[in-house]
């Protein structure tokens, strides 16, 4: 299967061209943000200036990061966490920060799907549990923000990624692979 190369800058045009079922490989800067970050933003918290999410990609991930002998960060495991917990907040974060892509696992609900359609964003499903394959795509762990407030797994990490693999499971045209598979599986169970 040939993957579509999704390279920074992640413009609205590139994102609108993506369709459910497309395999992509992402290259560029991405930021992590999970439960604590979403709740914080929802409650009106402000991001540090260095975290620029405009035309950016937010990754639902709490990595394992260690400091090497030279004091540099090294991300040793970095798979996606379950995204649906951010469903109450994600639409707002997409709208307010101009995010073009959300990477996670398990898919998200109707509010996020609607925000993807309205603002030009996609949901990119990474393989849950594949923390090593995905960590190998991180060329550099270039920053960490809000570490003191949230602790390591919940902090905002800045990653430079190369050919990070994901599947588009919710696109900017209102389509969701998750809705389709759910409906099909319920039908199959009733047979």
């Amino acid at each position: 299967m040939n993957a579509i190369q999704l390279e920074a800058p992640f413009t609205e045009e590139k994102i609108r061209n993506l369709k459910v079922g497309d395999s992509v490989e992402i290259t560029g800067v991405i930021f992590t943000g999970r439960d604590a970050v979403h709740k914080y933003l929802h409650e009106g918290g402000k991001l540090p200036d260095e975290v620029n999410l405009k035309d950016g990609i937010l990754y639902h991930c709490g990595p394992v990061v260690i400091e090497d002998e030279n004091g540099a960060w090294k991300t040793v495991a970095a798979g996606p966490t379950t995204s649906i917990r951010e469903e109450p907040y994600q639409w707002q974060v997409i709208r307010d920060y101009g995010i073009r892509g959300v990477i996670g696992k398990g898919g998200m609900g109707p509010k996020t799907l609607e925000a993807c359609k309205e603002h030009g964003c996609v949901y990119l499903h990474a393989v849950g549990g594949a923390a090593q394959v995905l960590a190998e795509c991180i060329e550099e762990t270039s920053g960490v923000y809000m570490m003191e407030e949230f602790g390591s797994p919940e902090a905002i990490w800045e990653f430079k990624v190369v050919k990070f693999p994901a599947v588009v499971t919710m696109d900017s045209h209102g389509e969701s692979l998750h809705e389709k598979i759910f409906a099909d599986s319920v039908a199959a169970l009733q047979q």
Binding site: G106, G128, A130, Q132, S152, P165, H178, F182, D184, A188
Partner: protein
């Protein structure tokens, strides 16, 4: 003990790896399901080679200890807690334990109820320690049903049990990092039901349930679940489950619980037989 934690975090047990490889063979070539299982297989190899966590969510740390009469359990807990702290420093475990009241993560993985210990006395002189690292994603999709369940038309019989178990598979899709494994307890109370369901996850995937009715039910649920088209990660495909393990416990007449623990493909379970001095004599999986 640190070696047991390292091995559990970085190396998938052979029985689970074999099940993943056979499901990879079985998926249609060129589909997302196949590509996903290939990434999973590659991930298993990298984690083992680099001695790094298979999954960044190194999970709840669950110790199951079969111990001889008279073994000092308090001393065992102290040693194991020390090993957890050490394994966390080495990056085998993520700083993964949060004080629920204050929200503080002190980075040690040791605190109230963490790690969890389940001791079981035996007449044998051997100490057997099993360790399961159970990620939060799959723990969150566990489910407990009280029968009868009107919505699912599930009565207090084995047919009713099957209905609620398959409902749990439908509800878990995509969220629990499939293909997964179900550990199930029929009966018990709300607490023991879940506890016994997790005990089922200590069984090897290729074993056979000694109770014929339960063995038949395991096979039936596995076969049915793999026709639902949910597939790895819920992307669609033939492999929804890698295994189903069912146990049962007596219940009181008023209760009929079915408790389901879902385990993700990153099924981190290892175990060792220890000498009385605490060194590893042999591996269990």
């Amino acid at each position: 003990m640190v070696e047991l934690i390292r091995r559990t975090s970085a190396e998938l047990p052979d029985d689970v790896h074999r099940a993943i490889l056979s499901s990879l063979e079985n998926e249609r070539k060129g589909e997302i399901a196949e590509a996903t299982l290939k990434i999973i297989d590659k991930n298993i190899a990298i984690a083992k080679n680099k001695s790094q966590p298979i999954c960044q969510d190194t999970g709840s740390v669950l110790f199951y200890v079969d111990c001889p009469v008279g073994m000092d359990q308090i001393a065992f807990e102290e040693v194991a807690k020390g090993a957890v702290i050490e394994a966390t420093k080495k990056g085998y475990l993520r700083q993964n334990s949060v004080d629920t009241l204050t929200g503080v993560n002190d980075g040690t993985n040791v605190g109230r109820g963490a790690p969890a210990f389940h001791f079981h006395q035996t007449r044998s002189n051997e100490i057997q320690v099993r360790l399961v690292l159970k990620g939060g994603g799959c723990e969150n999709v566990g489910a407990q049903y009280a029968l009868p369940n009107t919505k699912l038309k599930a009565n207090r019989d084995l047919e009713g049990c099957k209905k609620v178990i398959l409902d749990a598979v439908i509800q878990a899709q995509g969220k629990g990092c499939g293909p997964g494994v179900l550990g199930i307890c029929i009966g018990g109370d709300r607490a023991t039901g879940y506890e016994y369901s997790k005990h089922q996850l200590l069984r090897k995937l290729d074993d056979t349930n000694p109770v014929p009715e339960l063995a038949a039910m395991e096979k039936e649920i596995m076969d049915k679940a793999n026709t639902l088209g949910i597939g790895p990660m819920g992307f669609g495909g033939k492999t929804t489950l890698l295994g189903v393990k069912i146990g049962c416990a007596n219940r009181v007449p008023a209760s009929y619980f079915v408790s389901i623990s879902y385990m993700c493909w990153a099924y981190r379970r290892h175990g060792a037989v220890l000498s009385p001095e605490g060194s590893i004599e042999s591996w269990l999986y």
